[in-house]
Structure formats: structure tokens, C-alpha cells
């Protein structure tokens, strides 16, 4: 009985603060975690960086291929979800190569465009 009387004030004084602290902590936690999680999730799921890198690599490859073959006209290739559109125009000794690379899944990613004017017939 004596023990109860001694403990009660301590419990009373500590229970309110621990709840408030937890709520505040949770609020803080969530306010940081939710936006952060969203950003990370977006970054991880979309992975536009990797996509852009691959798109650049494919575009460069397409330019080299167009230079090598000197193929004139419009043509498309598909590779692992990427659509590579090549348009080559020849005027005299110059060939203008325009490459556009898009990805079917990452619609939000802007199409990657690459142009090069090259000498042919040397």
C-alpha cells in the first residue's frame, strides 16, 4: 500500500510526456520519411538516369552505324524497350544524321536527340 502511494506521482508525471513525445516523434519521422520515401522510390523505380545513359550509348552507336553504312533515309530500330529513329540526309559530300531515342516505359523521359554532320565520299 505504501509502495502504491510512492509510485503513483511518478507514473502520473511521466505518462503524459511519453505520449506527447511519441506523437511528436512520429510526426517528425513521417514528415521526413514520406517525402523522402516518395523521392527515393521514384528514383529507384523510374531509374531515368540509367535509361538516359543507355539512350546516349544507343544514340552514339546509331550515329557510328549511319556513318559507316552511309545509309540515307528514315529507319527505326528497337532495343530492350528503346526506339531508335535515324534520319540521314545527304547533300553533296555532307551527310546529316539525326538520331532520336525514346523509351516505351519511361514516357516522362524526354526523347534524347543527337545530330551530326559528317563528310562522306572521301
Amino acid at each position: 500500500m505504501e509502495n502504491t502511494i510512492v509510485l503513483q506521482p511518478r507514473l502520473k508525471s511521466s505518462e503524459g510526456f511519453s505520449l506527447l513525445e511519441s506523437i511528436v516523434a512520429m510526426a517528425l519521422f513521417l514528415s521526413v520519411l514520406i517525402p523522402l520515401g516518395t523521392i527515393i522510390a521514384n528514383a529507384l523505380i523510374k531509374d531515368t538516369t540509367g535509361t538516359r545513359q543507355t539512350a546516349l550509348h544507343l544514340a552514339e552507336k546509331a550515329v557510328h552505324e549511319a556513318e559507316r553504312t552511309v545509309q540515307v533515309g528514315k529507319y527505326q530500330q528497337e532495343y530492350d524497350g528503346f526506339l531508335i529513329e535515324t534520319e540521314s540526309v545527304r547533300e553533296g559530300d555532307l551527310m546529316t544524321i539525326n538520331i532520336t531515342v525514346t523509351h516505351s516505359k519511361h514516357v516522362s523521359m524526354r526523347p534524347l536527340k543527337l545530330s551530326k554532320v559528317t563528310l562522306v565520299g572521301q
Partner: protein, 465 residues
Amino acid sequence: MATARCWSIGNATSIPANQCGFALPSTIFLVSLLGVVGMSVFLLRHMKSQLDLIELARVRAEYAVQSGVAMGVTAAKSASDLRRSFETRLRSGEEVIVHTQPWGALVAVTSTGRAGKGTATLTALASDAPSPLFRQALVFGNQSHQLIFAGTSSIVGDISVGQSGASTGTLKERPPPRRLPVTGSVSKVSGPSQPLFSSPWLTDQLHEVLRLLEESRSQTRVFSNSVQIGNSGVSWLDPSLIADSTEYVFVRGDLRVSQSIHRDRPLRVVVTGNVRISSSARITGLIHLIASGPITVEDSVATEQVVLSSQESVSLEDSVSFSGQIIAPLITVSDGAMCTYPTVLLSTREMGGSTATRGIHLGGNTTVEGTVIMIPQDRARVDEQLIVIEPSATVVGTVYTTGAMTLDGTVIGTVITNDFYFYEAPTQYFGWLRSGRINREELPRSFLVPPGFQSQMKLQVLDWL
């Protein structure tokens, strides 16, 4: 009862010291940690994304400058196109600025490309596609006498000679070939068959060179972006004194070059005395060394793309590895020197100077890959203005003169000459080939000649800087 100030929100002074708890600090710590980790991941990804965008901009800018060079090269069709600038925009948005200017006997095309944050600059040296005349092994211009083969002389490829034709002959200790040693067709042409080397932009440059030398001597003109070195003694060229923006270096007196220098932007070094480039030097890029006295390049020096102009002479000593252009009345390439493609050796009357002997002398075991041109003075003696190619010397490319040449070595390519000449006491021989060999079939198809042999140019990229 002992109380303590705890990590808490509100009035927590009544919490006993042993009941503070760790909920808030640990939560804040956790949140901070997660926040830092999360932000780091985000920042890293953001940085990677930015780096990728920079890489993309770099690639686009590089393609843009290459495009600019291609456009600049094809836009230059005639002499009037060789000093011009233009701007254009590619379909994918890159801006390109192209500047074309003569660089010695060749053409320098500088292209600057901009794509987003990416910028790139590239300079290429361009030269002309050879005209159909250069498909021949030999164009022998002299109409007044025969071309005579003796000894071991031979030609692989077609030749063009005057109406007198070609035959074989006997020299002392040199039996005649059993039949005409030409493995190709022999065309007899009436009238002049040699193309004229007409290069007004080169003439303008040579006039500019002479003007610079004169102004350097008299100090009548003040140049911006210039550096003055020396005062009539011997000076050393110190690259640290030359800023990127410097366009001219004026040297009064003699100059010694012993350090390595590279320039992406044109630099003209004007020397009123002699120049000696010593063994340890390596000179590369758009550097034009102009001297009123002789220029000597010591053995083991390496050069690329430079232009050496002298009013008197330029000598390449043994074991020099030279690539570039030499413009002087007298050019001497000593035994064992190597001039790699695209080298141009040009002896022209337009450089003036007081030296009596002119010409180009290629010593034994030398190799010149490129073009050798001599434009003789009208009234000078033939033996004082010759191209001499000694036995075991080799030219891979073109040899051109409106005068005469002594060919005892080998030319892999085309020889265009008005006459052949040599002297064996007590006789001067004109039109005779005693040991020279010409082989047109082994010349690489991509070989180019300096613009000036045809009015309508078709420039192509010769070398990248």
C-alpha cells in the same frame, strides 16, 4: 526526490532523474539518420543525373564541333572562302561557330560547339583532293627534249611527256635499260601539261610574314596580345611568358628554343635573327616560327603542325622527327631525318631573302611524307635552284617544281617537273633519269595535296589538332 532536466517537450522538470527515458532523443536521432541517409541517396542520384546530363552535353558538343569542321571544310570551295566565319545550329539544338583560315600552304578549320552546359573546340588541318593529273606517276613538262631513262631508273604508273617522247640512253658505267622501264602508259602531250601552283592566300601570308619581319625590325607597329623578347643578343623562348591570348612574340636578335610548347590557338613568333631549336624541344600545334635568318632544327627534335618560315634557309639535322610545313628559299633535310605526313616543304621566290642558292635538298636515308614544292626564280641558273633527292632518300607523296630536279632516290607518288637535271663532270644532263624510281601505285589513296593546284577546291580533313 531528485529530478533532472530531460529531453522532453513541455514541463518535464518533475521527471525523476532515473526515468528520463530515451524516446525523444532516439527518435530524433533515428529521424536525422534516416533523413541524412535518404538525402544522401537523393543527392547522389541527383549528382549522377547531373553528371549524365553533362556527359550528354559533352557528347553533343563534340558532335557539334565535328559537324562544324565538316561544314567548314565543304564550304571552302575557292580562295575567297578561306578567311571566313559562320554560325549555324544543328537540328538537335547545338550551336556551332566555324572559322576558316589559311595555315601555311594548308587550311585550318576551327569549330566551336555549344550544347547546354557543354562546350568544345576543335581545329583540323584541311587539304585538297588531288586532281586527276595526280593519278600519273610522272608529268614531264619540258617540250624541247626527250625524257631519257638510264641505269636503274624506273617508273610504275602512267607518265605524261612532251612531243619528243621518252627513250632509253647510255651513261658512263650505267647501261641502258633493255626497254623503256615504265609499267604504264606513256602519253605525249603538246603544250604545257604541268598544273600551275597558284595559291593567293599563301602569297598573302608570305607578304604578311615579310611585313611582320620588317615591322619587328623597325618597331613601327604596336600589336595587341604580343610579347617582346630580347634586345639584339641571343634569347631563349620561355613558354611561361606566353599567355593563351598571346598572338605574337617578337624577338630582336637570335632565338634558341629548348622547351616544349603546344598551342591550340595560332601563335606567330617573329625573329629578326637566326633560330636554333635544340634537341630537347617539342613543338606542337598552331605555331608559326618566322625568322629573317636561318632556322636550324637539331637532331631528336619533334614537331607537329608547326610552320617554319625563313627568308634564308631551314635545316633539319640528323634524326629529326618533323611534321609540319617549311617555307624558305633553301631547305635541307639531313641524312636520317624523318618528315612524317602531312609535311609540306615549299621553296618559293616569294620569301625574298638574300641567299643565292635556293632549292630543296633531301639527304640520304631521309623520308618525307607529304608534298615537296619548289617555285624557282625565272632568271636563276638551273643548278642553283633544284630539288635534289639523293639515293636512298624517299618521298611518299608529291614532288612538284616548275624548274628542274635531280632524282636519284625514290618517289612513291607523283612527280611533276619541268625537267630532270644532274651534273657529271664535265657534262650537265637535262632530261635524264639515271637512278630515280617513281611508283605511283603504292601511294595511299587518302593522300591529299595542298590547295592551289586547281581553282575549284575540294577540301578534306588532313589532320586533327
